[in-house]
């Protein structure tokens, strides 16, 4: 397990070193490396390869830590992402994604590993000035069931183009079920991306750091 995690972290760092969406599938024959730090309650890293524009395969490592009673889950999973539907409009794009996977979870209060299943979905809509997405991600094992729902609303102060830097201001609302966090966690984020490199950072309503980095290549 440790070897896998070290190798996985190495892949993430290697990817970030060569370059630096939040869509689970970037483009056909593209590789996506993503790392997210979610205010101390959620930390996740993923690597996916897309053999087709509508399918990506890969894996990730997710750590959830309750800010109520400090129960911890460390979930390592393999996952397939599937683009159910895409609408390519003249000045906009909308997508519906689903995903599913399985892996192993460490459950801190039992000090044991359990089989874990994962399923989720995302719907998003974006133009060059506005962005909206709603994502739900369920992690389930014998000892727990956690769903993380994330809403993002973004506004770009200007229209970026292919070779220019994109700047977005994003409002994020996130809810966890299963005793990870009480209530909705709100965050204001600054998102920057250019070509294959994406970085965003901000603070939550409790003053905690929320950050994500992603590269596509």
């Amino acid at each position: 397990m440790n070897l896998f995690r070290i190798a996985f972290a190495g892949c993430v760092l290697a990817g970030a070193g060569t370059l630096a969406e939040a869509k689970p599938i970037a483009f056909s024959h593209g590789t996506t490396v993503m790392a997210e730090y979610g205010a101390g309650t959620m930390t996740e890293a993923q690597v996916f390869y897309a053999p087709k524009y509508f399918l990506s395969l890969g894996g990730g490592h997710l750590e959830l830590e309750s800010d109520i009673d400090h129960r911890r889950r460390e979930i390592t999973y393999a996952r397939a992402n599937y683009l159910v539907k895409r609408w390519n409009l003249e000045d906009a794009q909308a997508n519906v994604f689903v995903w599913g996977g399985a892996g192993q979870a460490y459950v801190s209060e039992l000090d044991e590993h359990q089989f874990a299943a994962n399923a989720g979905a995302q719907i998003d809509y974006e133009t060059r000035r506005i962005y909206a997405s709603l994502k739900t991600d369920l992690q389930r094992a014998d000892a727990f069931s956690h769903r993380t729902d994330t809403l993002q609303l973004g506004l770009a102060p200007y229209k970026h183009d292919f070779d220019s830097l994109a700047t977005w201001f994003v409002l994020q609302g996130r809810q966890y079920t299963g005793g990870i966090h009480d209530g909705t966690e709100w965050a204001l984020l600054l998102r920057l991306f250019k070509r294959g490199a994406w970085i965003e950072a901000g603070v939550t309503d409790e003053g905690k750091l929320q950050a994500m980095a992603m590269v596509n290549f």
């Binding site: 483009f27 024959h29 593209g30 087709k52 390519n88 133009t127 060059r128 070509r195 294959g196 994406w198």
Partner: protein
């Protein structure tokens, strides 16, 4: 007679070998996402250069001297990248001209 056939073929293929192909593509809203299109088109051995403009929903490619990429192949490449092609046109504008025009518009 041979000369006539040769001239006719030259005229017909001349249009196809204009060197610049401009495509109108829907769904181009993000440079981060559109890089897949550039990556795919650059893999084609006939492609010499690629320009993408989100503002104009434009994907333009130049081909190597005397080479062309059939419309069906271009459409397939864009569709397999997840986008919708709304038009394909061979033009006399070079990619340098297109880049210059795009730069001019931004000023």
């Amino acid at each position: 007679m041979r000369k006539l056939i040769f001239c006719t073929l030259a005229l017909l293929t001349g249009v196809a070998n204009a060197g610049t192909i401009e495509m109108k593509v829907y769904g181009l809203v993000c440079g981060f996402c559109a890089q897949g299109i550039e990556k795919t088109l650059r893999k084609n051995p006939a492609t010499s250069d690629v320009v993408v403009s989100l503002e104009h929903k434009l994907v333009a490619i130049s081909t190597h001297e005397g080479q062309d990429i059939p419309d069906a192949e271009l459409t397939r490449a864009l569709t397999d990248s997840g986008y919708d092609v709304k038009g394909i046109e061979r033009t006399r504008r070079s990619l340098d001209q297109i880049r210059a025009e795009l730069r001019q518009e931004k000023k």
